[in-house]
Amino acid sequence: MYARLPDARSETIAVAIDGEPFEARAGDTVAAALLASGRAAMRSTPVSGAPRGPFCMMGVCYDCLVTIDDAPNQQACLVLVAPGMRIRTQSGPVALAPPAEGV
């Protein structure tokens, strides 16, 4: 569905998507990296379970929510990939992790 432009030459950045290694490109948003990985949907909704993917790519539609480095419901289109980033697609409502002791 989505493909890199042939002249895209920026350096690669290693991330993990659902535990699998993936080479994103510098300057990719998490949403762009997920689309480049072949995923159209990156979550299913908490209420009906319908699949959702990025729609607006500019922070408005909230349809691209994913878990980034254990923080759930992050807008994938507003976060740039970083080396070692752990990205997880979401299925239904995600539990908020209890904070660490002492917080």
Binding site: L65, P72, N73, Q74, P93, A95, L96, P98, P99
Partner: protein
């Protein structure tokens, strides 16, 4: 020539629509006149609690009225479902007022005791931290305990408004939208309600126009000095079930969103104030620390309709039989008694004795002192 009705309800928000919902089952020719544009702000901005505990501290009649409302709520939800097929997501498994200090806990316990001594029959009990954690896990270290009330609950207030509107439409109730009432003229056998888009005649007129009731009430020789009280709400994104019960300042909707409220600000605007948002967000995180990881989806502010003593107004015009004014800040909680108790009385033309304490005579001293 003007349209003629048995009852004209001025105000199509939760209060007016609830009254009209009750009236529609009794058969009068009925019209609901709603305000212009962005009217019914409280009906759209509110938090959605069906809340009993702590209301009517100095007004036992209000405490009893609120409890009656909570107990009639299942009937309202059932009738709305029957009339419209819509589910307003009402839960009534209890609610908690959380205390963040020993002083707050002791003050709350004293309040509960004082109300009980004055005849309040709400099922309220003080729970220490351990007992509270058994009902609501994940509370923060600052939570000392709280008051649990088995009569409390919540609903989806936007769905409530939509279901009331749908039920009125299905019953063929006339509606005048975006219509500002300019004058109410008593006639020999009723009232002439003058609007920019024509006049409406009705045997009875019920003012339930929220803050605008302050402007309208003098037209029927009543003084209803309501003022705006600003409240902020923050909506957090949907997450897995986290809060099994609504708290007075925090609740999770049936669809998983967490709502954080509520501020009480003596202001009339509805601009969002980031300092207030920060304060209520910090308090929410003290109560449920896991919320620190939640995402804010949106935030808004709205205006409560507050009387000088915080107690509702149900008043008949002293000089024009058949004209009434209603004002309250609990349009969700009181919806069921507005539909099932107040509406029949309004149609009959006589407020019940139980509503005598809610007249406007109590504001005479307020006005004299001002």
């Amino acid at each position: 020539m003007s349209d003629r009705y048995d009852v004209a309800v001025v105000g199509g928000g939760l209060v007016g629509a609830s009254i009209a919902f009750g009236l529609r089952a009794l058969g009068p020719r009925l019209v609901v006149i709603d305000g212009a544009g962005a009217a019914r702000p409280a009906s759209r901005a509110n938090f959605g609690l069906v809340w009993v505990q702590g209301k009517g501290e100095d007004a036992p009649a209000y405490a009893a009225w609120t409890l009656a409302a909570a107990r009639a709520w299942p009937r309202l939800a059932a009738e709305l479902r029957q009339a419209t097929g819509q589910d307003v997501a009402m839960r009534q498994a209890g609610g908690v007022h959380v205390c963040l200090s020993r002083e707050a806990f002791d003050a709350r316990a004293a309040l509960v005791e004082r109300m009980r001594a004055r005849g309040d029959e709400a099922r309220v009990e003080m729970l220490d931290r351990e007992a509270l954690l058994a009902r609501v896990p994940g509370l923060g270290a600052d939570v000392v305990g709280g008051s649990f009330c088995a009569d409390d609950g919540d609903c989806n207030p936007l769905r409530l408004l939509r279901a009331l509107d749908a039920a009125l439409a299905a019953a063929g109730v006339a509606r005048r939208g975006s219509t500002r009432v300019e004058a109410i003229e008593p006639m020999a056998d009723g009232f002439r309600v003058v609007t920019a888009s024509g006049a409406i005649e009705a045997v009875r007129v019920v003012l339930a126009a929220g803050l605008d009731t302050a402007r309208l009430a003098p037209m029927i020789d009543l003084d209803v000095p309501v003022r705006a009280n600003k409240g902020h709400v923050i909506a957090l994104g949907r997450v897995a079930p986290l809060l099994p019960l609504p708290l007075s300042t925090l609740r999770q909707t049936d669809e998983g969103a967490v709502l954080v409220g509520d501020s009480w600000e003596d202001r009339a605007d509805d601009a969002v104030d980031s300092a207030v948002l920060g304060a209520i967000a910090r308090r929410a995180i003290r109560i449920v620390p896991a919320l620190a990881a939640a995402r804010v989806v949106r935030a808004w502010a709205g205006s409560r309709v507050l009387t000088p003593d915080g107690v509702p107004v149900y008043a008949a015009s002293p000089v024009h039989p058949g004209a009434f004014a209603v004002a309250c800040h609990s349009g969700v909680t009181l919806a069921a008694v507005h539909a099932f108790t107040l509406a029949p009385a309004l149609l009959e033309g006589q407020l019940p004795a139980t509503l005598a304490p809610f007249g406007t005579a109590r504001f005479a001293n307020v006005r004299a002192a001002a």
